[in-house]
Amino acid sequence: MDPIMLSRIQYALTTIFHFFFVPLSIGLVLLVAIMETLYVVKGKEIYKTMAKFWGKLFLINFAVGVVTGILQEFQFGMNWSEYSRFVGDVFGAPLAIEALLAFFMESTFIGLWIFGWDRLSKKVHLACIWLVFVGTFLSALWILAANSFMQHPVGFEINNGRAEMNDFFALITNGQLLVEFPHTIFGALMTGAFVVTGISAYKLMKKQDVEIFRKSFNIAIIIALVSSFGVAFSGHFQAQYLVETQPMKMAASEGTWTTTEDPAPWTVVAFIDPDKQESTGEIKIPGLLSYLSYSKFSGSVKGMKELNAEYQQTYGPGDYIPPVRTTFWSFRIMIAAGGLMIVLALYGTFLAVRKKLEVAGKWFMRLMVFAISLPFIANTSGWIMTEVGRQPWTVFGYMTTEAGVSPNVSAGMILFSTIAFTAAYTVLGIVMVYLFVREIKAGPFAVDKPEDHDESADPFGVDGGYSVVTK
């Protein structure tokens, strides 16, 4: 295989895996912070138990998110060194600021939060978890500022064959960032909320620690409701921004080969043939695409063939059409998952407010358990659409993905690292799910009973010994 394909595969795998954990961390830490706030304000021990229980799950998840994040930073230099040379001046700055502003904050205050229950006053301890939330929030902001530059490059000029920053303010007020950040954050909050409602529903079905999980469900379902609407609206604005700045991505995600009639219909499903450059068997909703693109029921949307011809004039000969089927279907999967979550959040809130949650029958609870997968599906397909839809560009209009790869790294080396990271990530994934299930089954009151005996074995001792010390 060639190094470019392998680097792409590695980037996709490691990024998708990393992005399972990031949104869940952001979402969970907000819920933990809310629960601890209720504890400090109301003084009821139950909220502390809740914060500690969900906090445990948060910490397991956070650990995996942190370690997989380090790889993300190194990867640019390792696999994409030409990209790094070309954009380091602009792209490196948000990454450095992310570390300085967000990572230090997260890591220090998470340490204080875990180990500080007995050493800090209630209010200071509470402030720590909120600062962790602020840290994750800022981290997302800066990493998306970097990503937005790739989608819609602003605030720079080309000097000596490199992109050099000339307007930092433009970089952080990038229109792409302003639509991408809210959408991602709402998605993250929704992820945390659906995980908590799903697990709570499971425990309520089993009638275990009912009070704790009813309260948890109620808090999380409100976040789910607010964020699911937030996701939908911010997604709508993002789509409109796409039509303006990356029409090719929009056309590909619609499977639109030729410029549409006016008003433009929205395609629900289609068979796409990238070789013949046509779509067949389409089911269409009239006028909807015009509305999604321009907030009115008129106006046509440009097709890929026309756009490709335009791009060839601007950027020279080449194929500027991204992998259409991937873009088209990931967009639809994202929307379907998002739509389902809105319905579930609405109905769940209705039940919670009417205090009919447990009477509503097991089917809804069971549905909520399955719904844990929905935000992950939506997050992943959303990113696939965003990143694959930008191809062949890595920095839109300025550098193709192929040009960014490291020239001095062989295919064998990338293959080796891809296998090594995939193996490590598979183990991590399995262990994490296992620990998650274990903590959930054990429940909130399985907190560290004092150990009456100390099982000890020294794997490095002379005897490789095993001894049990009874106190």
Binding site: L71, M78, D89, G111, F168, F416, E455, S456, Y466
Partner: protein, 351 residues
């Protein structure tokens, strides 16, 4: 592309912005090795001085609140290299591909091991994560030591700024001695940190082991300094400045040995920290103004001038860094203050 960047206010501090960023990155790396150095050492020491599971947990908990924050120094140094010296970042990270794969795997394993090990009581579970902690805590300083040693010795960097290193360019007697020196230095530094944060037997054992390791450490560092004198050009380039560092380093190490003997672990810890700081500062002093030395000749060197970002970018970054650093340092110091007390085995342990 050779364009030292100077602006008016720089008259006060006689540094161009790219020189200032070289200094900042040096400080970040020195800070990283000083801080993560002791948690690497404590990680290794769990396989050496802990006899029971409870003792091992006590050791891990002694670095529990800090190791993650310490690691961010490395991430920040990486980010700062990316932003301030894109060519340095790109050349180095793509050039050291395979060692970095191992570094990443070790960082991943070590990070989750701390979080995962105490989640279950089964012997096999804990043993597995314990081994990962010990191995990765030793492997990481070793690999970093090897990589930093190659910086001084020079590497095959071509006219395209591509590093095309073979196995022997990276692994050779000089770099292996460098790697071993860093590993042992971190181990002693970590043992002293452990003796600062524990009581009783564990503390005694940590001190005693540190004391035993002082002579081997001194010999290893002396060999490394000698090899550096004969095998690299840094003494020729920097002359007296490096000699001063060598003398300071020797004095700090002697003081560390003295304080260990006196059982004043706080001072001893400070002194091993000083040795680490002096050692890594020497690397950067020896390199400057180069960031990577090419074995093909000085024309191919990456320097703070030809590897740097543009003036505007450096200026923005300088303002951001100067604004944020005081806060970062402030709350990090505060967190060390909060967890200043010694841990004993009766304490509630989180990890």
């Amino acid at each position: 592309m050779n364009r030292p960047i100077r602006s008016a206010w720089m008259e006060v501090i006689p540094l161009s912005l790219s020189e200032l960023w070289f200094l900042l990155i040096a400080v970040l790396f020195v800070g990283f090795f000083f801080l993560e150095g002791f948690d690497f050492g404590v990680g290794m020491s769990t396989g050496i001085i802990a006899k029971t599971d409870r003792e091992r947990r006590t050791l891990i908990n002694s670095i529990g609140p800090f190791w993650d924050g310490n690691e961010v120094w490395l991430i920040t140094a990486g980010g700062a290299m990316f932003a301030a010296f894109p060519h340095w970042y790109a050349t180095m990270f793509s050039g050291f591909y395979l060692p970095l794969v191992v570094v990443l795997l070790a960082l991943i394993g070590r990070g989750v091991a701390f979080e995962f090990r105490s989640k279950m009581k089964q012997q096999r579970w804990r043993k597995t994560w314990d081994i990962i902690i010990v191995v990765s805590s030793a492997l990481l300083p070793f690999l970093f030591g090897v990589v930093f040693a190659t910086f001084m010795k020079g590497l095959p960097i071509d006219g395209e700024m591509q590093l095309r290193a073979g196995f022997l360019d990276i692994v050779n007697p000089y770099t292996v001695i460098g790697g071993l020196s860093v590993t042992l230095l971190c181990l002693v530094h970590g043992l002293l940190f452990a003796s600062l944060r524990t009581v009783g037997d564990l503390r005694e054992r940590a001190l005693k082991t540190a004391q035993k390791l002082m002579l081997p450490l001194a010999s290893l560092l002396a060999v490394y300094a000698l090899m550096t004198y004969f095998m690299t050009d840094v003494f020729a380039v920097r002359g007296w400045a490096l000699w001063i560092m060598v003398v300071l380093g020797a004095v700090a190490l002697a003081l560390a040995a003295y304080f260990v003997r006196q059982k004043r672990e706080g001072w001893a810890f400070g002194m091993t920290g000083a040795v680490i700081a002096i050692a890594f500062a020497s690397v950067f002093i020896g390199l400057f103004p180069r960031v990577m030395v090419s074995s093909f000749g000085a024309a191919y060197d990456l320097t703070v001038y030809n590897a740097a970002s543009g003036a505007y970018s450096l200026k923005v970054m300088t303002i951001v860094a100067c604004t944020l650093l005081p806060f970062v340092l402030g709350y990090q110091i505060w967190s060390y203050y909060i967890f200043r007390k010694r841990l004993n085995e009766q304490h509630h342990l989180e990890y």
